[in-house]
Symmetry: C2
Subunit: 326 residues, 2 copies
């Protein structure tokens, strides 16, 4: 009996056993200003919600306050990626880790950052969070970066950017998932739970009477795997376009408009147009710009100049959530 050979297997009776067709992969903007905070923007911070797990990218001052405002669950943060050791990308980290401790978070938090920052961040958290309720694992990013993290559903790679201090971009690539079971068909054929993984992997279903139900009748193609690259802070460099080639969503800093292109180069930053050129050269799906200089009371000029190079531009803004999908 097939149902016996399935440990804990049973016939499905409700649709709730079936996975959602669209696994969650959202980008939340908590801060997209640069250098000093303004009344319009917070310093850099983003949170990816990848299937319920929160992944933070950069942690400028005020990140934890914005998490509260955006109703994010602190306990779901387990991975943090810091691009570089300028204060507007990292001054929120001690406060965030303290708050996780005060909330009694268990388990661990993994923090990746350029190698030169590990010692100072460790000394700060050692001082202010003497005995945390969770383990903090510091990981130094150095050299060419490379694969930093991998699980069954996600990889994270780092790559060098060009800024005034060691600085890394990060690429988050969803792995191709299994085919999606069609709840109506699975119910119709009474498929036991123990067979679901095989069928989602592409197998046909052989009924008790030996007849075969082809996989195509039971499943829909898997959701396309989505990728997201974060590039901030950096000056324009073609190497970035090469590394992020084909990415679905590209966040690229766009600190200045055309008139300040010289200043951008001098300070290791980019113009909005340069960000858009990277998107075009990389064949990205959508460009998200941010890290605005606080001289811009609105960012229309940056969006306009970017769109002259690349049409699909979203202007980052605090509390904006972008559903990453194909």
């Amino acid at each position: 009996m097939r149902s016996m050979s399935c440990k804990g297997g049973s016939l499905l009776s409700t649709d709730s056993h079936y996975p959602e067709l669209m696994p969650q992969f959202d980008l939340n903007i908590l801060g997209c200003g640069s250098a000093t905070p303004s009344t319009r923007h917070n310093p850099s911070c983003q949170v990816l919600n990848f299937r319920g797990q929160l992944i933070m990218i950069d942690c400028g001052e005020g990140a934890q306050a914005m998490m509260r405002r955006m109703h994010m669950n602190f306990s779901r943060i387990s991975r943090i990626f810091i691009s570089h050791m300028h204060g507007d990308h990292v001054f929120g980290l001690p406060g965030l880790l303290s708050t996780l401790d005060l909330h009694g978070k268990g388990g661990s938090v993994d923090v990746w950052m350029p190698a030169d920052g590990v010692e100072i961040i460790r000394s700060i958290t050692d001082y202010f969070c003497r005995e945390t309720s969770f383990t903090i694992n510091y990981h130094a990013v150095e050299g060419d970066g490379g694969l930093l993290y991998e699980d069954h559903a996600l990889t994270v790679h780092a790559f060098p950017l060009r800024h005034r201090v060691p600085c890394y971009g990060y690429i988050f690539r969803e792995k191709q998932g299994p085919r999606h079971l069609r709840p109506d068909m699975a119910k119709f054929y009474g498929i036991p739970v123990c067979r679901l993984n095989d069928i989602k992997a592409g197998a046909d279903y052989v009924r008790e009477d030996g007849t075969v139900v082809p996989n195509e009748r039971l499943t829909l193609p898997p959701s396309p795997a989505v990728s997201y690259a974060y590039c901030s802070d950096t000056m324009f460099t073609e190497e970035t376009a090469r590394v992020v080639a084909g990415v679905d969503y590209l966040y690229h800093e766009a600190t200045y408009d055309d008139s300040l292109a010289d200043k951008a180069r001098e300070r290791g930053h980019s113009t909005a147009r340069e960000a858009a050129r990277i998107a075009r050269m990389a064949g990205a799906g959508t460009l998200i710009i941010g890290h605005y200089s606080n001289r811009y009371t609105d960012v229309d000029i940056l969006v306009r100049q970017a769109r002259e190079e690349f049409p699909e531009v979203i202007a980052a803004d605090e509390q904006l959530t972008i559903q990453l999908s194909k």
Copy 2:
């Protein structure tokens, strides 16, 4: 000729040469929450505007963003007093100092803090603000505290509070100023600028013909000197009332309501009622409560319980400015 004996002296021709009757002494609340930030309150930070100079007391995360929101001029900060080395009182300091540097502030900033914090704060600012445009002078507060700062118009004393870590309260005492010149009378008698200081110090004015104009006709009594004490974080202790006796304005933490009095003691905090008892025992003029636990969606219960002990209670709130006067 009297006008010649006065270096640079000249007859007054407009009222604008005369000082205002009320020298500015304002308390600005930038944050009055506790521990972790909430959507209602920021962590602890206050700024005294003392005659145009900004004096910061504690510097929780988000202090600089709130300064912007309250239209404060960063360059006017020259003194910062930190009560203790818990993150919600100090995590905004590295960001603030970085921003002062980015703004090209000159001169120096003096920072007082409990001795155990100097090394870590210095190491953070050394790392993130390598070559600041201004000098940072760190001062360790230890033992019984005592007089930390004095100029012609102000003294600042520190005194120990009782908390879980070394913690200090601060008293800011305005010095008794000179008598106020009456612009109408000064104009009427044509008093040269070089005589103003003598007259404000109480001297009569001797006219060219030898007649004497008594000081009472030319001046009004000086503004009463105002004092302000900051007590956070601390558990209830009668010693505090003794030290702040007679203060005009007392800020005392009021983390909890009566029902959490045990928790207050255990955590080294106070209830609102205990804060009010300190105000009553000290004979303070006005009590300002703050450092609210983030469990309170509004602080009416804290104000009510405090007023049962002491009538003059103001509830601190972000962006509140209190003009300190008698």
